[in-house]
């Protein structure tokens, strides 16, 4: 395993347990997801891996190196795209990517080639030579992604890389994430975008309040839910959505987001539910509906709960689905 984390705890002053007994491992060539609500402890975890923050207890090893004892070596072995927007004032994406690749150890020629390659792969060439202050948030975020990916080292970590990025370039970005894995890097992907993560990662952990609540491949996490389907419908209005959510006979309570209602059902009982929704559609209460195999999003909501302490999860899930 390239990255091993064992029983990691991080307690901040004020006794906030940002990470509480986290254990996980990531192999070379693997794309690994770190999922959780805002404040679940994802960024805290990354900061400890890259040696910016010191664990309260527990151990981290990056290919045998201990970032607590030797943060300089840890930083040379792994690259990070922080969640903060890239500081590109006065500097163009092409210059920033080349410089970061060179700082990370690439030779002049390789830095140049990697910058050109990534700018083309993410369709960023129209802005490649525009200074940062004139770029949109999405282009800045993609540039930051390229800065981390150009010379990634053995372990590369992306903290919410798709924020502000348009749907077409998100797909291009996921291709590059997979390419990094195929090139032998261990990739850690932090996101609260469950739908996208499901497509991109080979294994993942779900964090809640600093603890690991589930770990495995997307298929393993679906596990017992594998024979379930998800009914998703769009009601005529919010009032109808609330009424339908109350009526729905799902395996779990329905989740309502605006006009959207979603709930898991057993495959064996799909027919009565279909008849029920078709009836409401005819009556004008339902605009449209779909039935799909249960997704990681459903598992996630079951594990972590439909609402988070900092705000509603529905809006995130909705935007995730819309973006996917």
């Amino acid at each position: 395993m390239l990255l091993t984390i064992d029983d990691l705890c991080k307690v901040y002053r004020g006794r906030v347990r940002a990470n509480d007994g986290i254990s996980l491992s990531v192999a070379a060539g693997e794309v690994f997801g770190l999922l959780g609500h805002n404040g679940a402890g994802k960024t805290t975890l990354l900061n400890q891996v890259i040696g910016l923050s010191r664990p309260t207890s527990g151990a981290i090893r990056i290919d045998g190196c201990d970032p607590v004892a030797d943060p300089d070596t840890a930083r040379r072995m792994c690259s990070l795209q922080p969640q903060a927007q890239a500081p590109l004032d006065g500097i163009t994406p092409r210059q920033a990517i080349r410089l970061m690749a060179r700082i990370r150890g690439a030779g002049r020629r390789r830095a140049r080639a990697r910058a050109d390659e990534l700018l083309a792969a993410l369709d960023l060439e129209p802005w490649a030579d525009t200074v940062g202050q004139k770029l949109s948030g999405g282009v800045r975020r993609l540039t930051a992604f390229c800065m981390a990916a150009a010379e990634p080292g053995r372990l590369v970590m992306f903290d919410e890389p798709t924020n502000d990025v348009d749907p077409v370039r998100r797909r291009l970005l996921w291709q590059q994430v997979r390419a990094l894995g195929e090139a032998g890097c261990a990739v850690v992907l932090v996101t609260h975008n469950v739908v996208e993560a499901e497509r991109a990662v080979q294994r993942l952990v779900i964090l809640d309040q600093g603890t690991v609540v589930a770990q495995g491949s997307p298929a393993e996490l679906r596990g017992e839910h594998a024979d379930r389907l998800r009914m998703e419908l769009v009601a005529a209005d919010a009032h109808a959505a609330a009424r339908l959510a109350g009526e729905a006979e799902g395996v779990e309570p329905a989740v309502v987001a605006g006009r959207r209602v979603s709930f898991p059902i057993e495959a064996s009982t799909a027919s009565p539910t279909l008849a029920w929704v078709q009836r409401h559609r005819t009556a004008g209460l339902v605009d449209e509906f779909s039935v799909t195999p249960v997704s990681l999003e459903d598992v996630y909501i079951t594990l972590v709960g439909p609402t988070e302490r900092g705000g509603p999860i529905e809006s995130e899930v909705e935007s995730a689905s819309l973006a996917a």
Partner: protein
């Protein structure tokens, strides 16, 4: 060492790219300020004897270095903290002191035209000639090092708003209440005694007595005091830069 040098050069390049749009403005501001100190203070002080004029003309380059290291550099760092560049730099595989050196280089070079400008203005205005020692180069570097290591210490420790207040306070003290542009004898005894332990007086003396070497030669004391302040500032700043939360 190779890694250190490579990191330094690449960060220097990044700094120059980042600052190139407002470098001319900063250069002009520094030039005007240094010249302004010489001309402005000469209006305030009516008697233009050689000592007064020498203090003014050599105090201006010192203030230019203090301004760059203790005001402009920490305020720029505060901005970087606000805009996230700081987080990026912290996650980069570069030696922390190479980061500091790359920043310090830009700010020191930026202060140079102002320093030379002030000396030229003073020479023309007061018909002054200097007996310059080659030690002026290490003196200026030492002054810049002390200024920037203390300035960065403040900026790393304090919140951006507090940094602005503190750095403004520093330049106010250096300008008005420190024996930089005038001899220490003009200060009240307690303040003159305090300045025996602060760096400002030694910054000014190191610059003054290498730009115009006194009869007894260049003294060692200011260099020694500045070296102590520089090392202490560097140690504290390096400690803060490598500190982990």
């Amino acid at each position: 060492m190779r890694h250190w040098l490579r990191s330094y050069l690449l960060l220097l390049r990044w700094n120059l790219l980042r600052m190139r749009t407002f470098l001319p403005l900063l250069l002009i501001a520094q030039l005007m300020m240094s010249g302004g100190i010489v001309l402005g203070f000469s209006i305030l002080i009516p008697e233009h004897d050689r000592v007064t004029v020498l203090y003014l003309s050599t105090g201006a380059p010192t203030v230019a270095l203090i301004m760059a290291g203790m005001v402009l550099a920490p305020q720029a760092l505060s901005q970087q903290k606000l805009r996230g560049l700081f987080d990026y730099q912290r996650a980069m595989p570069v030696p922390r002191l190479a980061m500091l050196a790359a920043d310090a280089s830009v700010w020191t070079v930026l202060a140079l035209p102002g320093m030379v400008g002030a000396l030229v203005v003073a020479a023309l205005r007061f018909d002054l000639s200097y007996d310059v020692s080659p030690l002026v180069v290490p003196a200026a570097l030492l002054v810049a090092l002390v200024a920037i290591s203390i300035g960065y210490g403040i900026a790393y420790l304090a919140k951006p708003e507090v940094t602005t207040v503190l750095t403004n306070l520093v330049i106010f003290v250096a300008f008005v209440f420190a024996p930089v542009n005038y001899p220490a004898e003009r200060l009240p005894d307690w303040l003159a005694a305090t300045h025996q332990w602060l760096p400002f007086q030694y910054m000014a003396q190191a610059m003054r007595e290498t730009i115009d070497v006194p009869a007894g030669g260049v003294p060692a004391l200011p260099f020694a005091m500045l070296a102590i302040w520089g090392l202490a500032g560097l140690a504290v700043t390096a400690r803060i830069m490598t500190r982990r939360t």
